[in-house]
Symmetry: C2
Amino acid sequence: MKETESPSRKTGRPLSFDRKDVLEKAMLAFWGGGYETTSITDLTAAMGVTAPSLYAAFGNKQQLFLEAVRLYAGDHTVLEQTMAVAPTARDAVAQMLRGAAILYTGETTPPGCLLASSAATGSPDAAYVRDAVAAERRKVRNIVIRRIELDIAKGLMASHTCPATLADLTLAVTQGMSVLARDGADRARLLAIADAATTGWNLFKA
Amino acid sequence: MKETESPSRKTGRPLSFDRKDVLEKAMLAFWGGGYETTSITDLTAAMGVTAPSLYAAFGNKQQLFLEAVRLYAGDHTVLEQTMAVAPTARDAVAQMLRGAAILYTGETTPPGCLLASSAATGSPDAAYVRDAVAAERRKVRNIVIRRIELDIAKGLMASHTCPATLADLTLAVTQGMSVLARDGADRARLLAIADAATTGWNLFKA
DNA sequence: TAGCTTTTGTATCGATCATTATGAAATACT
DNA sequence: AGTATTTCATAATGATCGATACAAAAGCTA
């Protein structure tokens, strides 16, 4: 049952759980319940791990959440690859929005986006984790900006187009789709939003 | 100092606070901190009222929050009036988005939208309040839908336009702008998003 | 002024929060 | 086998959660 043991570890009782497996379960718990509103009791129940084991493996609640965010956002960077190979920035954003629509309505995952919903607000103590998820959003924004700048440099988009504004709009649509997914919107509705959001991009063609 | 006393009240020590005033302060506290992550201690500090007075005046935390949501959404319905007098649905939505951009970056209010951020996630105990804010979002959505249907009936918009999808997109942009406002986006950036979101509507003209 | 009603401030309730002390259990090395 | 090392389950830590019991204080009526 052991796995992913630390390199310095030599002897002692082996771990009774797979660290990556329980981390994914913790991510799903945070995804569905939020950072501050998901208690250690909730986490241990979802992970199938007792509290001392949780703290031994992940430090504390904040570090566990940050690892969960990295696991979640790591899946998001897969979209970055697909954006790079898209023929135009508009196609790239369309694919990204459609991917978000699908991700936010997965059957085995909570509705919505972990980055959008797990740390929307909170006490001052949780300011650090809010900054962490905001940093992940900023990464996505920068990816979109660079993709648009590429199209402008290629002459595919009008030179007066503001990449930052279109990236902001794209990010806003994704995070907003998360809210609608939380409210019960199904995949078809979210995909329709994604398509409607990108039709307007035809106006920015060079 | 007394005010807004209940009609059945005849005698007894008068209230030392203005109920509407402290309700607004509670709304601002929830707006900035969220429902579950704003404690009674936070609320009493923000309202300048002791806990027993809070419970006597508002029942409990949930009822206080629901009143705060009604106070907040009541301000939102002001936008409904302006949408009705706008020449086109596109202008109406543009004004609504610009109003949201301004509301989410007020100098005397927390950044973002109370409906978007105060109950994005939470424990199962708070499901009722999440449904309450979702219902407010649905109201806004229905207002937008009806405004679009009006333009379609007038022949101002293409008959194949899907009002529900455009309303979903509009709602997604507002809730997404709230996330960006929380991340520190200033009013100019949000206004740019609002304008960019409505430029695409030209494609739906009849 | 005496009596009644309601709000006030103080102090506290049990429950839950994140976190950990403690010792038994399980493996590796000698 | 014996010992060192690490994880295990149990249970408890102080702090904070939402919500109140209590009695003094403040007003109105008589």
